[in-house]
Symmetry: C2
Subunit: 557 residues, 2 copies
């Protein structure tokens, strides 16, 4: 497929379709390709040992010289988290980002010692001209400041990406620019891509003002220490907590690195002004309980986050007391329900009171538009073609149904997957093919092909352990230098199972002796033979299926 | 106060503030006055014998020559019901009304034999120019087709009246013109008057599409006769019922004059096309039950409406059967709760199933914007000054609070009463005085000063009845021609209380004999004397306080 040759404009996702996370969208015309957002996904619990998942950059690598810019809609990790990885692999001439995101990206890059100077701050009035595209922005409301929708004027009509948004008529920051949106819609939108995250939620979203009221009341009334866990990036919520604490003569001690970073960033950017309320964490002990708020990470029950350690009793600065009140000003990200309830149970065990958004819905509101607000966006933009994005398939599907209700013909709606290419020309839009793409796993700081097998192995190991069989051979002499060494982890207790392990060693030894005499020894065959023979034996003796890992070392003497 | 002399523009309500009903708003500049809407209120139950309440036209009568036009926002009775009465008293050069309202007004006038030819149909693109005003419109959604908001370009800035509205992104008719509203707001609105009816309702309104789905399911599933009572003016709902019946092979028989009229009108105006589904009411008996829908008036439990008579068993064409299903596709208008529950009880007594919007909220949706939609209107219009209208005070008050939340300073919000005059000039808006106004009661076809006393009397009569004492006298001869005649209604049973009535006659006779000899007989004194003496006597004997009505007739022989 000649990707960049036609007169059509092409839109595709490298991440963000069929998932909430690792958003990365591309729009291309002739020799110009613009990338929108570069996110990471936080791995679900079944992706053991994986920290993040990244979009597949293969296509971008191949077409590097055509990339004109990366445009960022807002500063959430699922939109900016992939930037350090992307920049290490691909030359991006310029990154446009709104104010808060710019600051967060620069911090992220300097933390990783990546020397990149081309992060350029845009605002809602910025106009960026490329050869084939003119890009403008509109202000939206989201759970982070400076969230924007993007308008691409292309040779084949206007393409609008909403970015993450909701409507909130009484927000803490500036209100969404509904007038600009109406004007864009009035001029004519060829294709709309709109945030589907909350398409399955009825009605409208609760205003951030309501959350502030509820938190304000809690801070005012509770006569003891208050521990608030919230999303560190929700700067308006942090701002409100800071202001309410100032009003109520409380000091704030901050625990958790991402919370410290975001607060610092919010103060630098000018979102939060009253920074004198915030004290050093080691000063917290000197403040009376009813004059203190602890603001911390861990609203998702992350095992190493401040709140989890506090709940465990393993936090060395904060020990729980009976009159403490813990507020989860957050909602569970899917997949985290278990770890959150674990944390809540521990908190209850220590006798403190806990508020979550299940018990008191006003302590949190989502940043994404529910059904009625999605309809409003569709009505404002009144696009000819529609492509729901940013969501799992059931969300995209529901969003498509909503669009039909709002008068968009079903045939003009595209339910696509990552890699699918949508082409628009002067007259119509259609799917013209798919790029092959895969998820890229990031394991600690190593990026690469960790792949599905690794994940499966880790899953097995987490249940049944591993058995490593190391054999030193001399291939030339077709000699086995010693009995194979057996090492295990997480399989059986070595001390209590010497007999079993000896038998396993014996079986492996027999196989090796037999095989080594053959011509053209194939290591892989040898390994397979060991695995095939040991697996049923071990299962019969122990009921377990550990990973069996034969290691053949050719020692040339 | 010189009303029309200044350079300011004046806005006031003759009805509609502090009440839901009899809407009538005026906007005036120099020698031009434009009236918006001319409604009636349906009397509350305590206004005995009163059919309607009208706005006070006194001011308009005095300033008749200044009235340039009456503009109607939509065809509901609380916006057009007063037109026949207004036209009988005041010369209105022209009435502008949207399509459906035009047709309804013309019908109303011809029914009352009022020969008025100046009802002019406008649509959303119409522009009307006066000397000081330019008037344009924007399409809104309401529970009747063709509802409009009005934009007045005045020498002192733009004044917007929303009319009755809600937002519904999946309506049955055309969607509200949010783009035009945004454009109006963008150009700058000096003063916004916005519908406050549902300011006390949280969230957003249910879509009419949902109601249609719910009714559609009921019509599809119920295997017997279905009786639907709904607001006759909700033409889109009627349209849907007609279409669903056609799809399900059901015929519709219509009972109740206003329902017949509105359906006829909707067919004439082209809103309803499949009129072959509708049969003559006397044909209903020949249709199998599971092929019939009865569409009728009486959703408010009005005693003489079709549904009430059906429930009573006194309807001569429709007798209830056990497998009937009655649907109230409506909500109770305040004050009607009692009569509605009376009707529902009767229906249950007759063993039929009943659905109301209490049991199944999807069978009805309101036509007025709840809280979140009011915020959207405020954000779209972003007016400098705000005056909540169309609502009881608690609704206006709440709407004012909402406006503050949406960033309008409290000092720029005017909570006014009927008659209060708001003046806007180049720089600011302020209240500059009040017109004295009263409610006008309409008792059957008689209009006029029925007044508070009459209502009070009716209330007394409804409890204790009336006692009429008729005395024929000859004033010249100072002679009583006979013993006074005593007539009662609703007081005591005449047959069983002859003695009491004779004593009353005797007392009255004594007073008359004594008084008639005096010089300068004052009839009123004579009457008062009778009332004053009889009241305690009757109360002592019966425990009642009937209206005592002495009638003195001067018979000149």
């Amino acid at each position: 497929m000649k990707f960049f040759d036609g007169n059509d404009t092409r839109i595709f996702a490298l991440g963000g379709l069929g998932e909430v996370g690792k958003n990365m969208y591309c729009i291309a015309h002739e020799n110009e390709l613009i990338v929108v957002d570069t996110g990471v996904s936080f791995a679900e619990e079944e992706l053991l040992g994986i920290d993040y998942v990244l979009p597949d950059y293969t296509f971008l690598k191949k077409n590097q010289q055509k990339i004109k810019a990366l445009i960022i809609t807002h500063g959430h990790e699922d939109h900016i988290g992939g930037i350090p990885f992307l920049l290490q692999e691909i030359n991006i001439p310029i990154i446009y980002a709104p104010k808060q995101a710019t600051s967060l990206i620069n911090k992220k890059l300097s933390e990783r010692n990546i020397n990149y100077k081309n992060v350029t701050c845009y605002n809602e009035d910025t106009k960026i001209k490329f050869k084939h595209f003119e890009v403008t922005f509109f202000r939206t409301t989201h759970s982070i400041p400076d969230s924007h929708g993007i308008v691409f004027n292309t040779p084949n009509g206007t393409v609008v990406m909403t970015g993450d948004f909701k409507f909130d008529w009484t927000p803490i920051g500036p209100v969404a620019d509904i007038h600009k949106m109406a004007a864009i819609g009035n001029k004519g939108v060829k294709l709309l891509l709109s945030d589907s995250t909350n398409a399955l939620v009825e009605g409208v979203s609760m205003s951030e003002s309501r959350v502030d009221e509820a938190l304000g009341e809690i801070i005012e009334r509770h006569n003891g220490r208050i521990i608030i866990a919230t999303f560190a990036s929700n700067v308006y919520r942090l701002k409100h907590i800071v202001e309410t604490c100032q009003k109520n003569n409380r000091k704030i001690a901050v625990f958790g690195r991402s919370m410290e970073n975001q607060l610092e960033n919010a103060i630098e950017c000018g979102y939060i002004k009253n920074d004198k309320v915030i004290i050093e964490s080691n000063e917290a002990k000197q403040i009376p309980n009813n004059k203190l708020v602890i603001l911390c990470t861990g609203s998702q029950g992350e095992p190493l986050a401040a709140l989890s350690r506090i709940a465990d009793g393993s936090h060395n600065q904060v020990k729980l007391m009976p009159n403490d009140l813990v507020v989860f000003s957050s909602s569970p990200i899917p997949g985290n329900a278990l770890s959150i309830s674990r944390t809540i149970n521990k908190l209850y065990l220590r006798g403190v009171e806990v508020y979550t958004n299940n018990m008191l819905s006003e302590v949190h509101t989502s940043g994404h538009a529910p059904l009625e607000e999605l309809k409003l966006m569709l009505r404002l933009m009144k696009p000819k073609y529609f492509m729901p994005y940013h969501g799992e398939f059931r969300m995209l599907k529901k969003h498509a149904d909503i669009a039909v209700e709002c008068g968009i013909p079903r045939k003009n709606i595209f339910l696509l997957e990552n890699g699918d290419i949508l082409s628009i020309d002067k007259s119509e839009a259609r799917k013209v093919g798919s790029l092959p793409i895969a998820d890229i796993y990031v394991d600690g700081s190593r990026v690469g092909n960790v792949g599905g097998i690794v994940i499966r192995d880790r899953k097995i190991m987490s249940n049944d352990g591993i058995l490593v069989i190391i054999a030193n051979i001399d291939v030339n002499k077709k000699e086995l230098l010693a009995k194979p060494t057996i090492t295990t982890r997480g399989f059986v207790l070595v001390n209590e199972n010497e007999e079993l392990l000896n038998k396993i060693q014996g079986i492996a030894y027999d196989i090796l002796k037999r095989k080594i005499k053959e011509d053209n020894i194939n290591y892989q065959d040898l390994k397979n033979e060991i695995i095939l023979e040991l697996t049923p034996f071990i299962f019969a003796k122990t009921g377990r299926r550990p990973i069996i890992l034969p290691v053949i070392m050719d020692i040339k003497r």
